[in-house]
Chain length 311, copies 2
Amino acid sequence: MRKHLIPLAALLAAAPAYPQASANIAAGRAQPSPLAPSEIVAAAPKSDWTAIAPSDLLVMDLAPDAKGKARRVVIQLMPAPFSQGWIGNIRKLVAAKFWDGTSINRVQDNYVAQWGDANAEDKAKAKKLPGDLAVVSQTEYSIDHDILLDRVLPKDSYGVQAGIFAGWPLAFDDKIWPVHCYGMVGVGRDMPPNTGTGAELYTVIGHAPRHLDRNIALVGRVIEGIEHLSSLPRGTGALGFYETPEERTGIVSIRIGNEVSGLPAYEYLSTESESFARYADARANRRDAFFIRPAGGADVCNVPVPVRRVK
Amino acid sequence: MRKHLIPLAALLAAAPAYPQASANIAAGRAQPSPLAPSEIVAAAPKSDWTAIAPSDLLVMDLAPDAKGKARRVVIQLMPAPFSQGWIGNIRKLVAAKFWDGTSINRVQDNYVAQWGDANAEDKAKAKKLPGDLAVVSQTEYSIDHDILLDRVLPKDSYGVQAGIFAGWPLAFDDKIWPVHCYGMVGVGRDMPPNTGTGAELYTVIGHAPRHLDRNIALVGRVIEGIEHLSSLPRGTGALGFYETPEERTGIVSIRIGNEVSGLPAYEYLSTESESFARYADARANRRDAFFIRPAGGADVCNVPVPVRRVK
């Protein structure tokens, strides 16, 4: 039995926003624009933006930098059905203030920055996890593939069809799953079938490591402040782990957005909008003055979904 | 008239090392391996490695970090015919010690770190360039495309065929050109048809910005020390430029490798070798214990050419 886990209406409405947008132009959906992608985004009407609920934000405050400057990282959690059980775990971990006093433990160049309890492997020192965390294992989801596969999307270098649907980078064959683009947040784990609790998280700080797709659960993406992770010194131990506690950057707290006073409101450019279709086309075919030769395509991770603070 | 600018023998020998390596396995060239890519590289025989001539290295010494630790970045220059005129310019700029005392002026997250004379736009303060720099404009090269296009390589998300040939990530249709992967080094320029002199260089520190392919000249890649650039604080000005001179990181010197005493010897895993074919296949299809689901493919920038110090 095929389960319709995905809001299909949203996916179908969003499908024309696929980065390889020349087909959209042929279909008359988006007009070629000499504007730069950033200019298209700046000109998008308010109605083309979708609010992100503060209750879907994780706010991670790092220890101040060497000059005493605050370092805040804001993460948007993925909606259902993606990342299902882990999101519940993450909310329980926040409620238990689990991450307060933990640290960034690993920064591997062109790969990931990873955080959590540095002593998790040491039973004597490990922080206690909430007792009721869910055990989840599914990293891809059923869809009505007959409908989606009818779309004229070329396969990418990973042999799958991929695009930006319902606000997120997704790929599908007869299943559908989120994609490891720059800034996506995933769940660290040990060997399979373990898929992690959500207590150890990482974000991508390099070229999209798409070999991790369907192998590790993705639960969100950094929408602000990723530079506080991507510019940290690289760890010199195996896999980029820091070799001494002094090298780690402390996490003061992680909270859900609606618990953080004074947090700005955020919104993303609706991937169903005409503005997004034009933005995606312009990412694939730069026609602004600097460019000589439009590429004629873009991979799904080279079309990041624009996010902004609400003015 | 078609000019055969590329050493075709090298390209053809290397062609099976294309990352989407399942075809290679079908053809019996590479056996599927449960080893991780790094293990395949570690086990590669000495004969599978190719020496990099010190005369093809640029050695950039940055000012020491806040703890007084040395920061050296080593760049391999591209061979002919790629990056033709710019390499000559770069050698002249090194000979003139042009970069000594210049700085890293721009670090834009998920994009580039860029260096050169911060006052280049200010005629009163700009450093004098050597007088005999070449003016070059070609960013793609003629090939015997009938031979290459016969290869069964699927098109990637950019609508072109791409792979690792003769040691470098390249793409081709009826022309051939180098690809903007993580760590590749390119030539900053103003508006076209200007293609830059080579005095301002950048390296990619994020997801491959392949919309720059054929729009900007590539001249090499960082083979060691990229973390000294990728972990720098991001600039807060437009395009990631630093807003004050104090934020810039100084460049003590840039020299050609054979002028630097005590420089280690470097070599890369020959892309024509059986070891590279197995490595590329393993990057596309991870079968080591951590992985549940091999991806079945990899984009050209997710198969970085292994480089090591010679022991």
